[in-house]
Amino acid sequence: MTKETDVRVEDKLYQNRYRVDSGRSHIKVTPHVTPSPELLALVKLCPARCYELNGNGQVEVAHDGCMECGTCRVLAEGKGDITWTYPRGGYGVLFKFG
């Protein structure tokens, strides 16, 4: 493992302020057997590391740390790999500095 992969995104996100809408994810991954290249790319690309591979080789999303940048929407919404909407008003990331 190179030094670069030691970055702990959880520690970075810990500094941020969120009002999490528990149980209401604004991102949903479409059920799949084999993930598309786009979904696989998101495991690396998502800056909050919301996307992870599960034990069965499928991609899952956990929206808690999402910074709502929209990268996954740009990459994966077009072919229907995910659905993306904004969190309800007042919820989600609340930037202190921005």
């Binding site: 970055v7 500094q15 009002r19 790319a41 007042g90 500095f97 921005g98």
Partner: protein, 434 residues
């Protein structure tokens, strides 16, 4: 809610606030929708503010706006893994009565801006997500559906200032979702240090500020840039790369940011800092050719949502302010003349934009994004490495005859890019710049 407004502004960033303020000041009944807790809580930028455009909206903004530092120094760095070759421009002339550029912290600035919008008479509804545009049978936009109870609001015009990732316009089919080639993903951290430490490290006094824009091996051959901006008691450090490049190469943005922070030219600037926030945002990078249709029946689009960004001059928020103001002026003028905001009449917004610096600048650089993105390996990896080698060769004195050193430098350039490649890049760059 059955109340009808003259205009609804979706979003309270630079474009939305400029539009809402402009229309409210001219007596229009304006409703502004913001999904964040307050205006600014969803907004992310480096951030540099250009005074001229703000002055047009709030002439005395310097009296109470939350400004960080006025910029007296601009540094451009071309980096390889061990070094940087810099071009620094610093001038005492920037220590002027009414400085030209400031660093700002967006959540604070936008909050202040929103106060002015409200004082001008606009109703600002926060914690309200706009879900979709309401259209009549003929497709004319007549309002917005929000996530509030009975959340439909009507208006003559909707100003879409919903940001780079805005959903309303794309859901209604008014414009396409941005493509992966046309947006960069930027990540940024806020590093806090005592102000004296920042001033000592960047050679500043008082409220003077410096910014560094960096390109080179930090983006691993992808089209990308790093930046370091000084605020009063913090430093914004970030890095952005084109999304299609990131998807292709599989680099993680936070790993690139960590490597940038660890670079020997950067690490001493940040040493001992406390990180208080980590943010991510998309930046429109497609330039002129990526700008969508700007208006239609009952709607206009401004700012990031319209993909407006002059990447060469880092003017994303500046174009947002300008386009928001022009959108606001167009709508207010139609209202004043008793004209309907039809597509035909709202075409005046596009005319205004085309005649202004906004579209003229984007047009000037229209071929730049394609050139830099298509040849990213050359411009962001090969050339920075060659320049570093050439500088090392020039500066290091080791008994090698200088003529031999120059020959080595020339040879390294030809070996990496060939004479045809070098000339071709020079011509293409000159053409795209023209």
């Amino acid at each position: 809610m059955t109340e009808k407004f003259d205009a609804i502004v979706v979003g309270a960033g630079m474009a939305g606030n400029a539009a809402a303020l402009t229309m409210a000041k001219r007596g229009l009944k304006v409703l502004q929708l913001e999904r964040g807790e307050y205006a600014g809580s969803k907004n992310v930028q480096g951030a540099i503010l250009y005074a001229a455009q703000v002055e047009k909206l709030i002439p005395e903004f310097r009296e109470d706006a939350p400004l960080e530092r006025h910029l007296v120094e601009q540094r451009f760095w071309m980096m390889d893994d061990a070094s940087h070759t810099g071009l620094h421009y610093r001038s005492e002339e920037f220590n002027e009565e009414r400085p030209n550029r400031y660093t700002i912290i967006r959540s604070q600035f936008d909050r202040w801006f929103s106060k002015h919008v409200q004082e001008a008479g606009a109703i600002v509804l926060t914690e309200t997500t706009a879900l979709e545009l309401l259209q009549d049978a003929r497709g004319r936009v007549i309002g917005v559906r929000t996530d509030r109870a009975q959340g439909e609001v009507l208006a003559d015009v909707v100003v879409l200032a919903e940001g780079v990732n805005g959903l309303l316009g794309t859901r209604a089919g008014l414009r396409e979702r941005p493509t992966r080639e046309n947006v960069a993903l930027a990540v940024k951290e806020m590093h806090f240090l005592p102000r004296e430490t920042i001033e000592a490290r960047f050679n500043l006094k008082g409220d003077e500020g410096a910014v560094i824009e960096a390109a080179g091996t930090i983006s691993r051959g992808m089209a990308g840039m790093g930046f370091i901006y000084t605020n009063r008691e913090s430093i914004s450090v970030g890095l952005g790369c084109i999304v299609s490049d990131l998807a292709k190469t599989g680099h993680s943005p936070y790993e690139l940011l960590e490597a940038f922070k660890r670079h020997p030219s950067v690490a001493p600037l940040l040493e001992g800092s406390e990180v208080k926030e980590y943010a991510a945002h998309l930046i429109p990078e497609g330039g002129y050719k990526a700008v969508p249709n700007l208006y239609g029946d009952g709607w206009v689009v401004a700012g990031d949502a319209a993909q407006l960004n002059n990447a060469i001059h880092r003017e994303r928020s500046n174009l947002a302010l300008a386009s928001g103001q022009m959108a606001g002026e167009t709508v207010a003028e139609l209202k004043g003349r008793g004209l309907e905001p039809t597509a035909k009449n709202l075409a005046a917004y596009k005319t205004r934009m085309m005649e202004s610096f906004v579209m003229q600048d984007l047009k000037k650089y229209k071929d730049m994004p394609a050139l830099l993105h298509a040849s990213s390996q050359n411009f962001f990896l090969t050339y920075p490495q060659l320049v570093s080698k050439a500088m090392q060769n020039f500066v290091r004195v080791d008994g090698t005859p200088k003529i031999e050193k120059e020959r080595r430098t020339m040879k390294s350039f030809f070996a990496a890019r060939s004479l045809g490649g070098l000339l071709g890049d020079a011509v293409r760059m000159a053409r795209a710049w023209r």
